[in-house]
């Protein structure tokens, strides 16, 4: 193992339709809050990592150079990391490796997206290659609907039961988002609202699907030496895992999903976790689609394969349950894509340091954070804890 790495500050913007600020100004907002949270200033930072989704989303090539000043990066090392939906977790990993390598003591990590400036679905369509997949896989809902249906079919799950579990997850996320000051969608809904909402791609209804958001997130990472020097009580990064697979959707098994399983296994091994259900106190599972969230529970070992509905039905993954998931309201209610994965890490850092405010899970000491990207292709995990 390399040098120990901690998260010593986080900053998030309010998410939503942020036409009040330019793209660099949005980033400045998140970065300023991270400095405020950590008590550091831009001069303290030794290197910067930043990323977003396809730059076509905002129509600026090399967005990291466009925002360099908004991150205080002038004169400093800077790398742009982008891996589609998993960009945020890839950013967190890159920040981790900057410090873990021993080259830097303090690194600023920034993820952002301004989805109202472009045509999100149009851009998402261009993630698919132009030869075979682009004409068919128009946007994400279709892909996830395919995956969800395959999952339910594989385990012979009754349609009505899966539908109800997904609706309950939608309600859970929408309810939790009300307690997260930075969340985008803040409406009180009931199970009936989900069941009555418009079908986007069967079985996925509009309330099963995340919004497009404008938003940014910044995280400051530090070496153990710097943490001791500052006398900080940080969130420690205990394990990282990432795994990608084939470009062509339909080539790999997306139910017993190796990319998700491997990413979790690697991170668990580093963190010394053998029984995730017991040892993880809180998780921010990347959940742009309710159905897919359940599939992840299985791949991450929260339950056996085919058993995810039960976790929802028994309230295990709700606040108050023994493995609460997405107390922030999750991706389902807030999704500035390039920031989304990093928000998951920031949220878990807040949880394990008891700084999550109204959506704090009492006593949480170890959490899992996750994001998924590529063409339903990449999964990244980070285990974060309040002790080394």
């Amino acid at each position: 193992m390399g040098h120990a790495v901690a998260i010593i500050g986080t900053g998030q913007t309010h998410c939503g339709k942020r036409t009040d600020v330019s793209y660099p100004e949005l980033i400045y907002e998140a970065v300023s809050r991270a400095f405020e949270d950590s008590g550091l200033s831009p001069d303290d930072i030794e290197a910067v990592v930043s990323g977003s989704m396809p730059p076509a989303m905002e129509g600026v090539n090399n967005p990291h150079l466009y925002w360099a000043d908004a991150m205080g990066a002038g004169g400093k090392p800077l790398i742009r990391i982008a891996t589609c939906g998993s960009t945020g977790i890839s950013l967190a990993h890159a920040g981790f490796y900057h410090v873990s390598s021993g080259l830097f003591d303090l690194v600023l990590v920034v993820g952002a997206e301004k989805m109202y400036e472009g045509n999100p679905q149009g851009v998402m369509a261009t993630v698919a290659d132009p030869f075979f997949q682009r004409p068919f896989l128009a946007g994400a809902p279709g892909i996830f609907a395919l995956q969800s249906n395959e999952w339910a079919h594989r385990y012979g799950l009754e349609e009505k039961r899966v539908r109800m579990a997904a609706a309950e997850l939608s309600v859970r996320n929408h309810t939790d988002a009300l307690d997260n000051p930075y969340a985008h969608i803040k409406v009180k809904i009931a199970v009936e609202d989900v069941l009555k909402s418009r079908v986007i791609a069967y079985p996925v209804r509009i309330l099963d699907v995340c919004p497009a958001s404008d938003g940014a997130c910044a995280v400051i990472m530090a070496s153990e030496r710097m943490v001791r020097k500052m006398g900080a009580k940080p969130a420690w990064i205990r394990g990282v895992g990432y795994c990608g697979e084939e470009a062509f959707f339909g080539e790999g098994d997306k139910v017993v999903w190796q990319a998700a399983i491997n990413a979790a296994k690697t991170a668990y091994k580093q963190a010394g976790i053998t029984d995730p259900r017991k040892e993880i106190d809180v998780a921010e599972v990347y959940n742009p689609f309710t159905f897919q969230e359940m599939l992840f529970y299985e791949c991450f070992g929260f339950c056996d394969f085919g058993q995810a509905c039960e976790l929802v039905e028994k309230g295990v993954v709700m606040r108050g349950g023994d493995l609460p998931c997405d107390p922030s309201g999750g991706v389902l209610c807030t999704n500035p894509i390039g920031a989304t994965g990093l928000q998951r890490a920031a949220e878990i850092a807040l949880q394990v340091t008891n700084k999550a405010g109204d959506h704090q899970i009492p006593g949480a000491s170890t959490g899992l954070t996750h994001a998924m990207g590529g063409l339903d292709q990449f999964n990244g995990i980070m285990i974060i804890s309040n002790s080394l």
């Binding site: 193992m1 730059p55 600026v60 000043d69 908004a70 742009r80 982008a82 390598s101 990608g244």
Partner: protein, 379 residues
């Protein structure tokens, strides 16, 4: 830094105007060739870091499309976008961390499939201030060159000498896209692109890919008799708004200082034996050499004139022909690193320079050279 990391081997495509194969096929080709040369299996690769660009690929999340073609299926990978010099550095950091023993670094660009560099770098200009007045890489290069000429009094003939040298060197590089024995007069006869830079002062773009295998010292020594060690890395960005920047003293001097410090290099002009740098124009080879500490500011053209940077000069610069030889946009930085490694291994064939034990490679992207990376390699 306790751990040492080395380049095991490198592979390039034969760069060209238009490579016929699909991106995935080309990627597979270079990675496969690299594994075969080194004699290992895909399963022995620890991690993969790639460099590409959505705008330079026309496919969003550009690494997703070739991820498995790069040998990374069911592996941990990442994408340092826009600049393959940075992907190399990220791969290096991943090994330093101890999480991985080997890292595959790859990059590809097929400029034949994309809009022109002028159009795509125009898209790098912010939409409010820079884009409406038509800034792009070439236009900013002109502004920079004009300012330099005014300050130091170099001439168009000085610039032409760089073109003649690099195209001449490229003739001996089997991977180069173009090369030739030209005269300065021929360069000066080419049409004016962006005053004071002529068409031949600016390398046109290419198709190409490159793959480099990095490993921690012990593994590297097992896999090759000639490991090339990463002695130092440094990188850095300049400010966003062009008017805020000093175009003749940007982020490169600092990036170079970081790399030299890490490598323990105090006097680059004497301690560096050769260099592969991103000559995005003839003028920039001169500017970058100065900022890499090869000579004082304003003296870069003298190095060319005096033959110091010629193939068998005291400090050969771009014996591969540099970007004049081939310019597959995002991949060009990694190609500089690969070329420097080949020289240090003594495997550079007809373009081999003599007595080299330490080399510098430099990569850059962004208008006017906004973000530079510098890598020091040694035997």
């Amino acid at each position: 830094m306790g751990k040492r990391v080395a380049i095991v081997d490198t592979v390039q495509t034969e760069h060209g105007d238009k490579l016929e194969d699909n991106i995935r096929e080309i990627m597979f080709g270079v990675v496969r060739q690299l594994l075969d040369r080194v004699g290992i299996e895909k399963s022995e690769i620890g991690t993969m870091v790639s460099a590409s660009s959505d705008y330079w690929e026309g496919i969003s999340c550009s690494n997703a499309y070739y991820y498995d073609a790069a040998g990374a299926n069911l592996k941990s990978g990442s994408n340092a976008e826009e600049d393959s010099g940075l992907a190399f550095i990220y791969g290096f950091m991943r090994i330093l961390s101890g999480d991985y023993k080997t890292a595959l670094v790859i990059s590809i660009t097929k400029c034949s499939e994309t809009p022109s560099a002028a159009t795509l770098t125009h898209m790098s200009a912010d939409p409010f201030f820079h884009r409406p007045v038509g800034l792009n890489e070439t236009v900013v290069a002109g502004l920079q060159a004009r300012e330099y000429m005014n300050r130091y009094g170099i001439t168009e003939e000085d610039l032409a000498m760089v073109v003649v040298k690099n195209l001449g060197n490229a003739q001996k590089n089997p991977y180069a896209h173009r090369g030739g024995q030209l005269s300065e007069e021929e360069v000066l006869a080419s049409s004016m692109m962006v005053y004071p830079l002529r068409e031949m002062d600016i390398p046109s773009t290419s198709d190409g890919a490159c793959a480099v295998l990095l490993a921690e010292e012990k593994i590297a020594r097992d896999l090759t008799d000639t490991p090339i060690f990463v002695e130092g890395v440094g990188w850095g960005t300049d400010h966003s708004f062009l008017g805020d920047r000093n175009l003749l003293n940007g982020s490169l001097p600092k990036a170079a200082e970081r790399a030299y410090q890490m490598a323990g290099v105090k006097d680059p002009s004497n301690e560096i034996d050769m260099a592969e740098i991103c000559d995005i124009t003839s003028f920039h080879e001169i500017l970058w050499m100065e900022q890499l500490g090869f000579c004082p500011p304003g003296k870069g053209a003298d190095l060319v004139k005096d033959g110091v940077t010629a193939m068998h000069g005291k400090l050969p610069v771009n014996p591969s022909g540099g970007l004049f030889g081939a310019n597959p946009y995002v991949a060009r930085g990694l190609i500089r690193i690969a070329e420097a490694a080949m020289q240090l291994k003594g495997e550079a064939g007809d373009r081999q320079v003599l007595d080299v034990s330490r080399a510098v490679a430099q990569s850059v992207h962004g208008l006017g050279g906004q973000l530079h990376s510098v890598i020091i390699l040694g035997t």
